[in-house]
């Protein structure tokens, strides 16, 4: 591969800093020379890049954007800009930019104590819906790829639905839910399933994880029935599909 020449290396250093908001258009002109089309036009590229990043985050995390707007004008903008400064996009898939947003919100809550737990749970819910949708084929049952088992302290499913219908809607209080977010094994759309205890036990066995003590007394016949149901609902692959 050819080496980047000194003038090009200087160009990319300066423009990279501008596009990430680490320097100003005036400083870029001072370093590289004047811009015939004007300083504002050069600075506009920082705006363009931010627009793209905000679009990505909005598409992924619209419920959180709505909650942030409800809480305080400008909060969503500050959150995304802070997140972007710490986690600039580093992947060809634009949506990967959002991968760490849930953890970021959790850290914000730990440090500032102002971000509700609901927001990071919503972020996880939004993210795993996306992940399930785009997961590669041929991953078998695809735990944590096509199929996600989650326990939330808020009914994020109801919250996301209400916000999509009415951004000003009153939200339900805290309520623990256990939900499967998955891409249907055959229909290929992203769906939800609320498993019973036998279903969770069957999933643990299927994934090869240790069965929680509370599930030890669930009869095998109930677990077998749960497996049949999970396959019928497209949560798990049928044996013949796993063998392919």
């Amino acid at each position: 591969m050819s080496e980047t020449s000194a003038p090009m290396a200087a160009f990319f250093d300066q423009l990279g800093a501008l596009l990430q908001g680490r320097t100003s258009a005036d400083d870029v002109e001072a370093a590289l020379g004047p811009v015939a089309t004007g300083t504002d036009a050069l600075a506009f590229y920082r705006t363009m890049v931010l627009r793209q990043w905000f679009l990505i985050m909005r598409d992924l995390y619209e419920p959180i954007r709505l909650l942030a707007q409800r809480r305080e004008p400008g909060l969503w903008t500050r959150l995304v800009q802070t997140y972007a400064a710490a986690h600039p996009p580093a992947h060809f898939d634009p949506n990967q930019f959002g991968e760490g947003f849930g953890d970021f919100l959790a850290r914000q809550r730990a440090v500032h104590g102002t971000i509700p737990t609901l927001w990071e749970e919503l972020a996880d819910y939004c993210w795993i819906r996306h992940r399930a949708n785009v997961c590669p084929d041929d991953v078998g049952d695809g735990f944590e790829q096509r199929l996600f088992v989650r326990q939330y302290t808020h009914d994020v499913v109801a919250v996301a639905k209400r916000l999509s219908e009415d951004p000003a809607a009153e939200l339900p209080g805290a309520k623990t839910i256990v939900v499967l977010v998955y891409r249907h094994a055959r229909a290929l759309d992203v769906r939800l399933f609320f498993p019973n205890a036998a279903g969770l036990a069957a999933l643990a066995v299927r994934e090869g994880t240790a069965l929680p003590a509370a599930f030890a007394t669930i009869p095998q016949s109930d677990q077998d029935a749960a497996i049949v149901s999970l396959v019928e609902h497209g949560v798990l692959l049928a044996e013949e599909e796993l063998d392919r």
């Binding site: 591969m1 050819s2 980047t4 020449s5 003038p7 090009m8 290396a9 160009f11 990319f12 250093d13 423009l15 990279g16 596009l19 990430q20 870029v28 002109e29 590289l32 020379g33 004047p34 811009v35 015939a36 089309t37 004007g38 036009a41 050069l42 506009f44 590229y45 363009m48 890049v49 793209q52 990043w53 990505i56 600039p88 996009p89 580093a90 992947h91 060809f92 898939d93 634009p94 930019f97 949708n133 785009v134 997961c135 590669p136 084929d137 041929d138 991953v139 891409r183 290929l188 759309d189």
Partner: protein, 280 residues
């Protein structure tokens, strides 16, 4: 280099908003374009729809993040996935943008202009040759919309495009809307600007809508094509002959029928000016 494909006619983009209907659409579509970044490493419904579309139409990839003119080494893992996708599509070429999109590991997810300089020509042409080698197929580059002439410019944009294509052996993906946007934003005559591009190297043409914002036009692919761009397209076809044309609509994407209405309008001009013969 001669055009590496015989596919002609008017195509549209394969977008997830149309996944429910595109594979079975009865209206005329000559070919499809996809954004490889939305398909590499992705399974599920996107792959299923793509497989069905591939049975009906040629499908070509038009990339946005390879950063053809950028400073970072190409993402080897992505290029492997991209090549596999293009192989699956039996794509005779790969198209991307004459721009950079990454720097120091950051993906800006925007198409960023290079300085119109000799150094940028040499830098970019070498990378285009490397890209073509690694993808094992010819590359065509799109003239992008630019809102600012970057510091260090030594030539005009058409001269820069010509020099990169000449030195790299790449084809021109002529984006007619971008010509109009650039001419408007920089106070030039669109037809003169278009005529200054190396039209003899045109392997594909793109059409799209744009939006006015303040004193600028922004190339957002989110509106119908305006009359001035249709006229410019007509003129371009008289210069290029029958070249496959893509009708782009990527923002505020409407129902498929609305996109196809716009594609039909392009096809009427295409048929009238370029003879109407379509090959796949």
């Amino acid at each position: 280099m001669t055009r590496p494909t015989t596919t002609t006619g008017v195509g549209i983009g394969l977008r997830h908003q149309h996944f429910d209907v595109i594979a079975d659409v009865s209206r005329r579509v000559d070919w499809l374009e996809l954004v490889p970044e939305n398909f590499v490493g992705v399974g599920g419904r996107a792959r299923r729809v793509l497989a069905r579309c591939r049975e009906r139409w040629p499908v070509w990839g038009h990339g946005v993040t390879v950063s053809v003119g950028g400073p970072d080494p190409f993402d080897a893992e992505y290029l492997r996935g991209l090549k596999a996708l293009l192989d699956d599509l039996d794509a005779p070429m790969y198209t991307d943008h004459l721009c950079y999109a990454t720097a120091a590991g950051t993906y800006f997810h925007d198409l960023l202009p290079l300085p119109f300089s000799e150094a940028a020509v040499r830098h970019t042409a070498a990378r285009v040759r490397e890209l073509a080698d690694r993808l094992e197929r010819p590359v065509a580059l799109e003239n992008i919309s630019f809102y600012c002439e970057m510091p260090g410019a030594e030539m005009t944009e058409p001269q820069f495009v010509s020099a990169v294509l000449e030195e790299s052996g790449a084809g021109l993906l002529l984006d007619v809307n971008n010509v109009y946007v650039n001419a408007f934003n920089h106070g030039r005559d669109p037809q003169q600007w278009l005529d200054a591009l190396p039209l003899e190297r045109t392997w594909q043409i793109h059409l799209a809508g744009h939006v006015h914002e303040g004193g600028r036009i922004i190339d957002n692919h989110g509106a119908p094509v305006i009359d001035e761009v249709w006229a410019l397209y007509r003129h371009a076809l008289t210069r290029t002959g029958p070249v496959a044309t893509l009708l782009e609509w990527d923002t505020d994407i409407p129902a498929l029928d609305r996109v196809l209405d716009e594609a039909d309008r392009a096809r009427a001009i295409y048929d009238e000016v370029a003879g109407g013969e379509v090959t796949r």
